[in-house]
């Protein structure tokens, strides 16, 4: 039977979820293989080199760069305190001395007799990496981090903003077609992950921000409203570093689009359960999609789980059309003709014949997304 590769988002009822928790620079790993992990547990930490202050000392003291070393009362590698006098000129007969006090707490990193500059480095900045999900340490990467595995339900969105958050899932909309309205968001929802149906307006999202909601999962959002949240036009879909209390995960796309039934019902199955979510998205080579991970508390550590979706579509597959003029419609593959077909745009493409509500359409395979679940 003919099959076709079609990218699809994962909607998995049960999988062995693995995540790498890696430090930005080498440091210390605090856990061992097999150890149980909670989402907030620190698994690795390091110190990033502190910021530096470059001081043109020769200008400040009005001396030649070559004389800077003599004027300094400290040497490379010495610790200095904010306000501590660290350089002084000899003056004339002991008078008219010029001096310089350290502007920060730190360490003298270098002194240049060529440029007359000194570099003072601030104290290191500690960085900690947490476990993100409830699970078990699967692998330790020495000095760099760990791989955490967890038996979990796993859902990918198409686009998100803001980084990792944790919270209890709370179903707000009663169907995938229903919008998540502003008046449905209350102060009791602080720290929760709210699930809507087809759409959330900018006003409703702002209210969620105001009440410190941990995250929103919804079918659609208006692209042009992102500017109001981010403060700039999102030109390239690379997100995750936004400083927002409420992560937003859009499962279907921009506009008012009902959430896929499989995604909605899987989330509904886990209503009131704790989940870890991440809005980070990177649509470039090495694609990253936003995710919702719901640990299942079942022991499938060694069990062979359905870790990967089968991206192939064949006759009978359920697919979603992801481009105009039938955007958002869900149908069943009736046939996969091998020949190139001409579209209305005169583009020659490989197509799939899709049955939507008893009507058949020819759709470019590139415009289809698999919506099968496991």
């Amino acid at each position: 039977m003919a099959t076709s590769y079609t990218p699809g988002l994962k909607v998995l009822k049960k999988t062995l979820f693995k995540t790498k928790r890696i430090l930005p620079l080498k440091g210390n790993v605090h856990v061992k293989v097999g150890q149980d992990i909670t989402p907030d547990m620190v698994v690795a930490s390091t110190n990033l080199p502190g910021n530096v202050q470059m001081v043109k000392l020769s200008n400040i003291l009005n001396i030649e760069p070559k004389d800077v070393e003599n004027a300094l009362k400290v040497r490379e590698g010495d610790s200095v305190q904010k306000g501590e006098m660290i350089a002084e000129t000899e003056g004339i007969f002991g008078f008219f001395k010029s001096s310089f006090s350290s502007p920060i707490d730190g360490i003298i990193e270098s002194v240049s007799s060529k440029t007359g500059r000194i570099i003072i480095r601030e104290k290191p900045i500690p960085v900690e990496i947490d476990g993100y999900v409830e699970g078990v340490v699967d692998e330790v990467i020495p000095e760099e981090g760990v791989v955490v595995k967890s038996s979990a339900a796993f859902i990918q969105g198409i686009f998100g903003i803001a980084g990792e958050k944790k919270g209890v899932i709370s179903m707000i909309s009663s169907s995938p077609e229903e919008e998540l309205h502003e008046d449905q968001i209350t102060s009791e929802m602080k720290g929760k992950i709210l699930v809507g149906g087809s759409f959330i307006s900018i006003q409703a999202y702002k209210k969620a921000l105001q009440y410190d909601v941990a995250g929103i999962v919804v079918g659609g959002f208006n692209y042009y409203d992102l500017k109001e949240i981010l403060g700039y036009n999102l030109g390239v879909a690379i997100t995750g570093t936004e400083k927002l209390n409420t992560a937003l995960i859009v499962t279907e796309g921009y506009g008012n689009i009902p959430m896929s039934h499989s995604t909605f019902s899987l989330l509904k199955d886990h209503d009131n359960k704790i989940a870890s979510i991440n809005g980070a998205t990177q649509i470039r080579a090495g694609v990253i999609r936003p995710e919702i991970v719901i640990p299942l508390n079942s022991q499938i550590k060694e069990e062979k789980a359905t870790n990967d979706s089968n991206y192939g579509i064949s006759v009978g597959s359920v697919v979603r059309i992801i481009r105009s003029p039938y955007f958002g419609k869900i149908g069943e593959v009736v046939s996969l003709p091998p020949e190139l077909q001409q579209m209305e745009s005169e583009t020659m493409v490989r197509v799939a014949e899709i049955k939507v509500n008893k009507e058949n359409f020819l759709i470019p395979r590139a415009n289809l997304e698999s919506v099968e679940t496991k």
Partner: protein, 605 residues
């Protein structure tokens, strides 16, 4: 030794493309091509797998055995293998560099030109006078994690303190390479030769430092070659060697692997030199748009890093503005719906336009992406800044804020487009319109598109150093470029100057190769095309006294031009091309221009 068979691949970020070139009856021709997904990323993590898959497709199509035990057979052995194998690469994000110089518009700009010319993406340009405080520069260097840094500054023998300070900043940031934690970041120093020892003391320990000749030995001279060559060497030795499978691939190729845009640039430079012409080339991709030009024998390349047709399509919308995109759309559309549609293309970048309406919108966005990229290019491709030269009054009017743009559209001889939206447009007329509307050529300009984007492979082929193959490889590259790579769209004739609306700008007399003659009245505002294949046409153009067609105002031109898949296009729309603010008039205008070229199918009402 005579070259008979050549295999060349280009490992792109998503697709690896292979071509087979053979000597057929004494002429080099592209005979077969194959492609396969690139395999740099997980789960494969070995670029050679994608290469072998693409080559295997050629094997199947040609019936010629090219692979043995997971290796490409070279040299050729009767009916097996090829004489040479070469490759380019932009997989894994290509070559990403940061450049630094003392003065932003001088040494830093020369460093940027060298890095771009070598085929890299320039992530940031640091300069002593860029307005950022040292700690801001340090934070930026740490955030970016480039593949390589090029440091320049100062003329030879001049003051050393500024460039030394830049080195201090680099040292303080302790930059880490993007790929892998276990090797030192390559830094190339191409600045004041008097500062070399100090630079060495500052940077040698924290980086893999290489010193080459100064990029601006004196203010009036730019010396890009040594830096460009060193970037290519380091790209091979350091950057590529870190990417999965590249060590193996490097062992297979008969010439160094070149960064894809570096190879394209080199080919364009070579064509311009051979034919003594001015060329503009553009490659519009999903994420970026590259523009290459050669004017007055000076080569320039720019990368508009966030102007593309899928991954960065929303950035085109943001930079150009909705109004500018909509001015090319000949129907009414709900703007909020349009914005969401464009947003959905960004998050689902592999989709294709099914309806005619979607195609027209995509091509409207392409016009703006191309227009903006070309503006960036014109602003960058300038004569050296900070150099005193004699200028006439008219030069002074042309002068941009700093340095003069080398791009002169009236001098442009050949405009080549490539990238999906141009190369794969359903009708060639659409490609021609997109090129004309966005680049706005003036006078007489040939238009072409790269059929399957094989310029990278031909570029690396033309750069083979091995003595025994050198000449043949260059011949093969240029012959295939002419015969198989370029699809000639035709010639655009655009008179420029002021006349009243809809009045005559002059007339043209065409004499076709079969002896037939035709006279065309050049009416202001009119766009028209004469279908004629890629054959010679003698043309004489008689412009009105206020109109220039290339020889000066009112000066007649007699020359030979060529037709092509679209033919000979007379574009009498004045420069810059403007469309009416009134939506009804605009739609009528756009439809008239489209119909003149038979650009779109007539949709049943």
């Amino acid at each position: 030794m005579k070259l008979n068979t050549i295999l060349a691949t280009d490992c792109g970020s998503t697709t690896t493309k292979a071509i087979l070139i053979e000597n057929v009856n004494g002429k080099y021709r592209l005979t077969f091509r194959g492609e396969a997904p690139t395999t740099v990323e997980a789960p494969f993590e070995d670029v050679t797998k994608g290469v072998l898959n693409a080559v295997q497709e050629i094997e199947e199509l040609s019936g010629r055995k090219l692979i043995s035990e997971d290796n490409i057979i070279t040299p050729q052995n009767s009916n097996e293998g090829v004489d040479i194998y070469v490759s380019t690469s932009s997989a894994g994000g290509g070559l990403q560099m940061m450049v630094a110089g003392v003065v932003k518009s001088m040494s830093a700009e020369s460093a940027e030109r060298a890095a771009l010319g070598a085929g890299s993406i320039v992530m940031d340009v640091l300069a002593s006078n860029d307005g950022r405080k040292p700690h801001e520069k340090i934070t930026r260097i740490r955030q970016l994690r480039p593949d390589m840094i090029l440091l320049s500054g100062g003329t030879d023998g001049g003051t050393t303190s500024h460039v030394t300070e830049l080195a201090d900043i680099l040292a303080a940031s302790n930059p880490q390479p993007r790929l892998g934690q276990d090797y030192k970041l390559p830094i190339i120093y191409a600045g004041n030769n008097k500062a070399r020892d100090t630079i060495k003391n500052t940077l040698d320990g924290i980086s893999d430092l290489d010193i080459v000749d100064n990029i601006r030995p004196i203010l009036e001279k730019e010396n890009l070659e040594p830096s460009r060559d060193k970037i290519h060497d380091l790209f091979m030795e350091h950057v590529m060697a870190q990417a999965p499978g590249y060590k193996k691939l490097m062992g297979w190729t008969d010439a160094p692997i070149m960064p894809t845009p570096g190879a394209v640039g080199s080919l364009i430079e070579m064509i311009a030199e051979r034919d003594n012409i001015s060329v503009v080339g553009v490659d519009i991709g999903g994420a970026t748009t590259d523009v290459f030009s050669v004017f007055n024998k000076k080569f320039n390349r720019t990368v508009s890093a966030n102007l593309g047709m899928s991954y960065s399509i929303c950035n085109v919308l943001a930079d150009a503005g909705l109004e500018n995109v909509l001015r090319w759309v000949p129907f009414k559309i709900e703007t909020s719906d349009l914005i969401n549609r464009i947003g959905n293309k960004m998050i689902r970048p592999t989709t294709v336009p099914q309806s005619l309406e979607e195609l027209i919108i995509e091509q409207a966005i392409a016009r703006e992406a191309l227009r903006l990229s070309f503006i960036q290019h014109k602003n960058f491709a300038t004569s050296l800044k900070g150099v005193q030269s004699d200028r006439t009054i008219s030069d002074a009017f042309e002068q941009s804020s700093s340095g003069m743009s080398l791009v002169n559209m009236m001098e442009l001889d050949l405009l080549v487009g490539s990238g999906g939206v141009l190369s794969h447009a359903p009708r060639r007329q659409q490609s021609a319109r997109m090129l004309i509307d966005s680049f706005m050529p003036e006078g007489i300009t040939q238009l072409a598109v790269d059929s399957i984007f094989m310029m990278p492979q031909l570029g690396v082929l033309a750069n083979i150093d091995k003595e025994e193959f050198k000449e043949d490889a260059k011949d093969a590259s240029l012959e295939v470029f002419e015969k198989d790579c370029l699809i000639r769209l035709g010639t655009c004739i655009a008179p420029v100057g002021e006349v009243d609306k809809s009045t005559s700008m002059g007339y043209a007399e065409l004499r076709f190769s079969d002896g037939e003659k035709q006279t065309i009245d050049l009416l202001e505002g009119v766009l028209l095309a004469i279908e004629y294949p890629y054959k010679e046409v003698k043309v004489e153009i008689f412009p009105q006294k206020s109109i220039d067609i290339g020889a000066g105002k009112g000066e007649k031109i007699a020359t030979t031009i060529f037709g092509g898949e679209v033919g000979i296009i007379f574009d009498c729309r004045n420069r810059p091309i403007s469309v009416s603010d009134d939506s009804q008039t605009r739609v009528q205008e756009l439809k008239r221009w489209s119909d003149a070229l038979n650009e779109y199918p007539k949709k049943a009402e």
